[in-house]
Symmetry: C2
Subunit: 476 residues, 2 copies
């Protein structure tokens, strides 16, 4: 309510100057973590501006997690944004430090890792890999002596541009593709190349949590867009676009992580038109369109885009070969130049060896057949998970592809204790709040059915349900 009222107050961006002033002082350590900041009244007097202007600056600081409010007594510096001073050894080092709780959970060693949204390595055709490697060394004997180009191997880009055109009607030239070292690098390059501090970025809620970290680090204002089993509330999205003029909307519309939801075709078309109208880039992250059950997902947003407002990230790590770290980014030349520039600063090009192995492996007949088997194996695992959890009364929408089940447990679930107890019993899962830029979704969890085999799935889920009941029954 308050934010809306304020957005009508035109103040010649004075509030942004106050925002910068405060950020700069926090950055230099003038105000440290948990320090109380000057009151609205004080700053308004100091800057000779209306109090609403200062209030607006504080609202933006709060939204961007730079400050927090305590007991209505005022604004305080949020610790993660302070200039960290390590007085022991290097008093001059400073940096933002985000906690990536997802990677923390991934470090937990557990027998039943429902937290890992990766393919079970036993589902990959490991014994065939060495054949492709041999082939690569025969074809390109000097591959290890050769740097890659920044944009990526021309032969691979040529093959992928044909593939995307055949499969998804992209109509791409090889120059409209950039090869990156996985999708994490792709997201990072996009954020660094296209976002400056205070730009507004839409992220789905929930979303892939490392994306939250990347855009937050870039200084973006993050606005969450709810994703539902059948997509977005488009009218609401349009209202928010009109109001906030986002620079980009990062989305993961196909077998969404963590929810498994898929945005239907009609919404894709409409959203591309809307993005074009409001000049908002759509960053479409598409890690496993091939892992569908029953029927193929709709065409990517990129296929509907004629104006060049979609950047498409296709990762191949999830189901082809995590150890190769290969992803491709498709975008139009006006955007490509920014990404190439950022890529050239980030590394000297994705290693050529990895690109050549990927090229010969991915386009082999054997792999394309293997993907069919993968779909069946994963559908069976999804079914097992649903079966084992069917008596719990927890709520979820059946995922029609991908690796994850996103479930709502009863509100009363003591989530911290559930995680703690589970880890004690060598079971891991991801609490929903990690995927939420607002750190809510407290009673949701993500469990992946992709990493464990069928026996482990049954065992682990039975144990997990048992832990849940032991915790909730003692509570009552």
């Amino acid at each position: 309510m308050k934010r809306k009222a304020l957005s009508n107050v035109h103040s010649d961006n004075l509030y942004e100057q106050i925002y910068d002033y405060i950020i700069e002082r926090i950055g230099r350590g003038v105000w440290g973590a948990h320090d109380k900041l000057p009151s609205i009244r004080t700053l308004a007097t100091e800057f000779n501006v209306h109090r609403l202007t200062v209030f607006k600056a504080y609202q933006l600081l709060k939204q961007n997690k730079k400050v927090y409010v305590k007991d209505k007594s005022g604004y305080y510096v949020m610790p993660e944004n302070m200039l960290l001073i390590d007085s022991q050894q290097n008093p001059i080092i400073s940096a933002h430090v985000q906690e990536s709780s997802l990677s923390e959970i991934h470090q937990v060693r557990a027998d039943y890792q429902f937290s890992i949204a990766l393919l079970d390595p036993n589902l990959l055709p490991n014994h065939y890999f060495s054949e492709y490697i041999k082939k690569v060394f025969n074809l390109y004997p000097k591959v290890l002596g050769t740097y890659s180009s920044i944009q990526g191997d021309p032969e691979l880009r040529e093959a992928l541009s044909r593939y995307f055109t055949d499969q998804s009607h992209f109509y791409l030239t090889p120059d409209e593709l950039l090869i990156t070292s996985g999708s994490q690098q792709a997201i990072d390059l996009i954020a660094r190349g296209l976002i400056k501090p205070r730009d507004t970025v839409f992220l789905e809620r929930p979303t892939y949590s490392p994306a939250i970290d990347v855009f937050r680090r870039q200084g973006a204002n993050i606005i969450p867009i709810e994703i539902h089993p059948h997509g977005y509330q488009l009218e609401q999205v349009e209202g928010l676009m009109r109001e906030h003029k986002p620079r980009l909307f990062y989305l993961n519309p196909t077998f969404h992580n963590p929810t498994g939801y898929t945005v239907p075709a009609e919404q894709r078309k409409t959203l591309v038109e809307m993005a074009n109208k409001y000049q908002c880039l759509l960053i479409e992250d598409d890690p496993y369109p091939d892992i569908y059950f029953e029927k193929k997902p709709p065409l990517p947003f990129f296929s509907y885009d004629t104006a060049g407002c979609v950047i498409y990230i296709r990762s191949f790590s999830k189901y082809i070969a995590p150890g190769l770290s290969i992803a491709a980014v498709a975008c139009r030349p006006s955007i490509m130049k920014y990404l190439l520039n950022t890529k050239s600063l980030s590394d000297s090009g994705t290693p050529l060896l990895n690109q050549k192995i990927f090229l010969h492996y991915f386009f082999s007949e054997r792999l394309q057949k293997h993907v069919e088997k993968l779909r069946i194996a994963l559908e069976i695992r999804r079914n097992i998970m649903e079966e084992e959890l069917s008596a719990t009364g927890w709520k979820w929408a059946t995922p029609m592809g991908g690796f994850n089940l996103w479930m709502k447990l009863p509100e009363s679930t003591p989530m911290d204790r559930l995680l703690e107890k589970s880890i004690e019993k060598s079971i891991s899962f991801v609490p929903g709040s990690i995927f939420d830029s607002l750190k809510e979704h407290q009673s949701w969890i993500r469990m992946s059915y992709s990493y464990l085999n069928e026996t482990q799935l049954r065992d682990g889920l039975q144990r997990f349900v048992h832990i849940y009941h032991s915790l909730t029954s003692t509570q009552i």
Copy 2:
């Protein structure tokens, strides 16, 4: 002179606020490329500050290449820093775009590429590589199905920590090593993890040009430190450290690129003490300490460091395997946490396959013997280059290792035409100005003797000298 006088004017950082104000407006496109900026008088009135304060802001903007001065008529927006608006397709895209002239020159196809400071791929033991790959797949059959950890393969870090301790007296634990995808990524992670806008960074002059781009993009104030055949002028460096309090000094002290100079041991010791005194981090980039002629170079700076102020980057791309893109960063835990955090945003860890191949290849007896042969081959190539150029009268210091000859041609050399004519005749070299943050060094060039074989070297250099004479004789 003027800067010095100003640095005594204490103005409560008002000038920084004016600096930010101008940067923000340029960033938003209020002022576009080549637009004239408000006069000092106007801004002083507007902000109600002393004109010297505005002058100081403009000096900093000029130093950071955000504005330029034209005919003493005022300050103008430097084009590379403007918010680039592509009105055709995506009016909302913005980013800094730096031109990396080095990568442009590398794109030139030429028969005689003296511009490329890489090892001739024929000097690598290409026919043995596939053996190591086979070994890796036998030892780790699921290597392509496995993500790496963010910090890097523990087995590789263990082996490298022992290696550095044996070879260079580092006394490292595996936790003090980070594996990166080449040294370019290492420099980028350091800049992103440790530098914020307006931090002062010392760079050698000349220096490795992508480092200039990385630190400039991070918004650093760059101060050049001259490097001479026998190191730095340490008194001058100390004066500059005292005055500017740099956050870090990026250096390449062993067979320096582009000059080939090596900083002597006594200077290393003194500079480490100085850095500790002034709390300046030293970033030591060490791409080929093994490529020495006659005698080993001095120990790295890192070996002299007891206070944790040195970050050591050891790249293995240059002479081991460019196609693997493996580098290691050694630093103390207080710094490691920042680099790990930034690495986790940049990618999901350097690919495990590359790390495992590197591990088994680098630590093989065969490779260690091969490096001996490399040294001899490169020394012969250096000798050929010196011989072929001996009659020119150009000046250089004989490089005692590395890949490059850094030469001063007569001041009167028409450098642009020399480059143009050379490229016409299929010869490439790098003009010295590319390595200079001040874009001077107009009569210097870098020629690499590492990429061409002996016959190509002789042929190409004879042609190059001929082009030079044809240009300069017609000029007189």
